[in-house]
Symmetry: C2
Subunit: 420 residues, 2 copies
């Protein structure tokens, strides 16, 4: 660093929308992504929704020349969908799976049996340790009536806690990913406030790309049009965030997004736009400046708001759990009644022969009741997990709030080398 005072780092982040058999023109797009990455030679590539390891292998083979180091985060039935390509050796990796993983979303919205997680990759460039985080938070299905808002707030909180607890040994932190959260939403404000991460779009000296930095835009032919109806310009939900210890300064020199259809092609890279950031990292000369990020009371407001959201979610989850319990009890009762009726009829020999229709009908009804019982019991278990998760997050937030208000900075700052 002494002989080279500024280190330039070029980062590429994209939700690849690589779902085999479902995503449109997948192989073409993967080739396109690979070609672009080879031509542009970034330093770090953070990808999400690469659900198939085969697709990762295709990319890995193609990118092996320019990005000799890579990691695919394996977890869950389908995987985490997260991977990282790097020009610099990867020293260590770690994966944290969020406590709730969209199993009920799958039932309700055709979502994936996936392990939503945050992946951490450690690299070192010129003796500067970088903690690189890549993640994909849960999607928002309906902004007006967003039943899963508390879940996404908890995911943002778990992400923030994971980054806080794992980042003390790093000089520079970098987070890239599809956060499925608008810039003004409580989730991202909580994440930024609690970790001190800064938004590359807001900080960038120069910007080029979709208006307002949007990454889900109507002009992208693969973007879901119905979701974007209330947002004619599109929405910004993919982010590059960063932060340095007090010994270093990170600046975002330039931020770019792709703008729908790829140059010279008839398709875009994905249904999302890619975010490309050029960061400058240098050792700080002289005394560290004032700490950035939300101060005690402002941070407390955000934690308070998030906590209220989680409490509302907890209330709803408890209601859903009770209703599952009632349904399960009803199904069990019906099943028992049918079994008793069958046993009663069974004693009259040849009941099935004499009355074939009621026997078959009862059989079908029993099947239905059994299925209902299983489903209701499964939902009960799920809502129990949900309640516990929300309780756990709420308690962690209460501790956080206590620290924001009580120790006002002193306690929070003392935790790590990274100042808030």
């Amino acid at each position: 660093m002494e002989e080279d005072p500024t280190l330039q780092l070029r980062v590429f982040d994209l939700n690849c929308w690589a779902i085999r058999y479902l995503s449109k023109r997948l192989q073409e797009r993967l080739q396109l992504i690979g070609d672009t990455l080879c031509q542009e030679s970034f330093d770090l590539v953070l990808l999400q929704e690469v659900w198939s390891e085969q697709d990762y292998s295709v990319l890995k083979e193609k990118l092996g020349g320019c990005y000799p180091f890579s990691h695919y985060f394996r977890r869950g039935v389908i995987g985490s969908g997260l991977c990282v390509f790097s020009r610099f050796p990867i020293l260590d990796t770690f994966l944290y799976q969020y406590s709730l993983n969209g199993y009920p979303y799958m039932l309700q919205h055709g979502d994936w049996f996936c392990g939503k997680s945050v992946g951490l990759v450690v690299i070192k460039i010129s003796e500067i340790v970088f903690n690189i985080y890549v993640t994909h938070l849960h999607a928002e299905y309906c902004r007006e009536k967003d039943a899963y808002l508390p879940h996404r707030v908890v995911q943002a909180w778990e992400l923030a806690q994971f980054i806080r607890h794992t980042s003390a040994a790093a000089d520079v932190l970098l987070l890239g990913g599809d956060l499925n959260t608008h810039p003004e939403d409580v989730g991202i404000r909580l994440l930024r406030g609690w970790t001190g991460l800064r938004d590359a779009f807001a900080e960038a000296k120069g910007f080029e790309g979709c208006e307002d930095g949007c990454t889900l835009v109507p002009r992208n032919c693969f973007a879901a049009k119905t979701e974007l109806q209330p947002f004619p310009l599109g929405v910004r939900i993919d982010y590059v965030l960063y932060k340095a210890t007090s010994d270093f300064v990170v600046k975002c020199k330039e931020l770019r997004t792709t703008t729908g259809t790829a140059p010279g092609k008839d398709i875009p890279y994905s249904d999302h736009e890619a975010v490309m950031a050029t960061l400058h990292v240098r050792r700080r000369d002289g005394a560290p400046g004032p700490a950035r990020g939300a101060a005690g009371p402002a941070l407390a407001d955000v934690v308070n708001e998030a906590s209220a959201e989680v409490r509302a979610g907890l209330h709803a989850a408890r209601r859903r759990r009770s209703s599952s319990a009632r349904t399960a009890a009803l199904a069990l009762l019906l099943l028992l009644l049918l079994l008793q009726a069958a046993a009663g009829l069974g004693t009259l020999a040849g009941w099935a022969a004499a009355r074939p229709f009621p026997a078959l009908a009862s059989c079908l009804l029993a099947l239905l009741a059994g299925g209902g019982l299983l489903l209701a019991a499964g939902l009960y278990l799920f809502h129990t997990v949900e309640v516990r998760m929300l309780q756990g997050a709420e308690e962690e937030m209460r501790l956080a709030l206590h620290r924001c208000l009580g120790a006002a900075g002193a306690g929070a700052g003392a935790r790590g080398r990274l100042s808030l």
Copy 2:
């Protein structure tokens, strides 16, 4: 610290065996544990297998006077079973759930639908930051033919990685828990080697308790006798481990275990013995001593051994996955054949009336085939998760090995403030 050069910390660790409706004389034992903790006034109490939040609340109420701060880690359907009581304020908490959580064990061994995890609690005493970890690794069911050895090795690895990645901001680390691992097993050697944690039993100046520090002993009337048959003295599977940064020195002054039946009572506290450690923490005067723990090549040997175990497990998991796939295919085939037969017969009107027996028999057979299909599909999904988890751990270990051998210390040491 300057005015009080040595800080004494008394730690109590116990697997409480608090399973409602199953554990023997649970309420009596909880009262006994509570009384003892109040009388002896430790600084920190780390408990495992407190599965019911109600039991935690009972303890919390009882201990509120001596241990005003506490945390119960909520996760999964049943919970994590982990909790911490402390004389000092808890500043922050975090929970990491291991990637595999014993669902198939539950089927095979009547084990629990639990969220096996490691909990982290941050406390600060006289400006020294303590990261306190509490965990419970998966049980060993049969030492001779331990099909789940790779899983336990992976849990030990995930625990080690979690501690490594979250500990850089702490001055002192402390881990207590039921590791279900004998002192010479690869799991604990890997954990100690990769984190640099030291075993309080091995380091203690004075020891009092069961021979060899055993924590599962035949003289405990609740301990499973069949499991202990090959070990007439008992086994040591509950640990207190610790470590400090180079600025601090931690020594274990005394280690004690309970010895079966509680003094003046006719029952023990649990089926495990409690581990009680008295630690002395002081700021190091002068230059830091040589780094402790396994050096590069020795550590590499352990990682290599663990990695071989994981590869063997991966091989077996792939075989199990294939066999589940075959079973599922067979069940599906049978189901389809039965449905086709039923449809064929159905065209002859009144088939059920004419032949009540085959209709009912087919119905039952179809139910059986359907159940078999569901079970086999479930197992297939589970083994897929298992394969991915083992692959992920193996890859992380490969990176670790590379760092042990290649950078021999330099790379590894640079990660955190805590030297290996």
